[in-house]
Symmetry: C2
DNA sequence: CGACCATTTGATATGGATCAAGCGATGTGG
DNA sequence: CCACATCGCTTGATCCATATCAAATGGTCG
């Protein structure tokens, strides 16, 4: 059970960490363990900004509950979502000094926050920690490589790929809750909200999935979906 | 002047490194310096495979001259190019044990090759080297974030973005040599060869660029191009 | 209940793909 | 040295997937 801290809706919102701070660092040789140990708990309400593009990357974040989206805004106002982060996933780690994307809470979201400088100090002495920070970045890189691949596929392939990816990450059998809106999905896949909606309807009509309501889906025919994945 | 090694066209082709090996490692606290010092020189002919997707990632490479493309093949045979690497740039670094893309020489290409295990051993003791390996991956990540962004833009914006990117990397005034074919550019930008060609022609007709021949271009109106970048 | 917002559904427009020639370099054999 | 084959690129005509514009539906909250 985690200690509870107040909301932070403030714009540049570097949180006041006082009350929720954990015991001093212990060399656990595990980045994840370190975050759990020294991370400060924070809650962001739905749509609150967690950090902004080109802000100093002072913290690293791990999602405890809820969901986060990272994104960039194009000059013409279009928004490209870089990724979604669900419970247990880490985001906001930068090698350089600035965030390269903005981050927002998709729904009310609890995160653990760790100062980057603390991790750097740790990595200096513990090459295993350094390796795990690199591994995180490397994992993001591979995810992005697959995202690039997805963006050159057809609308149906993108949507199916998204559903299968979500199903794999939220391991609750065949029923999957979607924390994000259709607009979020569209901006992630580089499609319009109408195309996402139509594609989902079409997948439902072929009995590949079921859509009990707009914020969840059920996998009904993994074989068919696999074939449609591209 | 670098020692010359034989060609390697072999498929899995882990090169015989004997004759071109350099003196033993010195702690330079610089990844780049280390590559220059202990890297073995190799030449790959045009279109030769350097490594394949899901092969063991045993080496890291730095381009001395020529150019390299990394790519994935989709199930339907389409090829997505992940990136181009020009003289001075490093590719093939993996945190995990397998390459996540294939790599080929675009034109005849000379590279320096370093065993990953050697770098890992170095990084174990020298956190600066570890940091620089992470920085390389992080740089790739940022490049890919921009690539994702590019792939949701219009054809003209993608092509203009590509030209400006190439011009920035090959710093030879306004005239830029293109080592890669139209097909390579198309597969990088997620367009067809016809669309790339038409877009270039159109840019030439508006005097934004000049196309002396198919393998080079000149920037004629950076202002206009900047506005078209998106 | 009523206002609001997200989603779905429908009708039409369009950017880029596809299909199909034509053209210009580069190289090869006579 | 020239005729010709080849290959990569350009240009043209048409098609189609997805965007855009518009309206209807449904779910949520005061």
């Amino acid at each position: 059970m985690l200690a509870q801290s107040g909301y932070s809706q403030s714009t540049h919102g570097r949180p006041a960490l006082g009350p929720t701070r954990r015991p001093p660092p212990v060399t656990a040789h595990s980045l994840d363990g370190t975050i759990e140990m020294i991370g400060a708990s924070m809650v962001f309400p739905r749509n609150a900004e967690i950090f902004g593009e080109s802000e100093p990357a002072e913290y690293l974040y791990k999602v405890v509950s809820g969901a986060v989206r990272t994104y960039k805004i194009l000059s013409d106002g279009r928004r490209q979502i870089g990724g979604f982060y669900l419970a247990g996933e880490v985001f906001g780690l930068e090698n350089g000094d600035e965030h390269s994307l903005s981050a927002e809470a998709v729904s009310e979201t609890r995160v653990l926050v760790v100062k980057r400088s603390a991790l750097f100090a740790l990595a200096e002495r513990d090459s295993e920690i350094a390796r795990q920070m690199w591994a995180l970045t490397s994992h993001e890189l591979h995810r992005l490589q697959n995202h690039v691949l997805a963006l050159v596929k057809t609308a149906k392939e993108r949507v199916v790929g998204f559903l299968l990816e979500m199903a794999k990450r939220a391991p609750s059998g065949n029923r999957v809750e979607l924390p994000m809106s259709r607009q979020d999905i569209a901006d992630y896949l580089g499609l319009t909200i109408e195309t996402v909606s139509r594609t989902l309807t079409q997948l439902e009509s072929t009995a590949a999935i079921a859509l009990p309501n707009a914020r969840c889906f059920e996998l009904r025919d993994r074989g068919a979906l696999g074939r449609l994945r591209g």
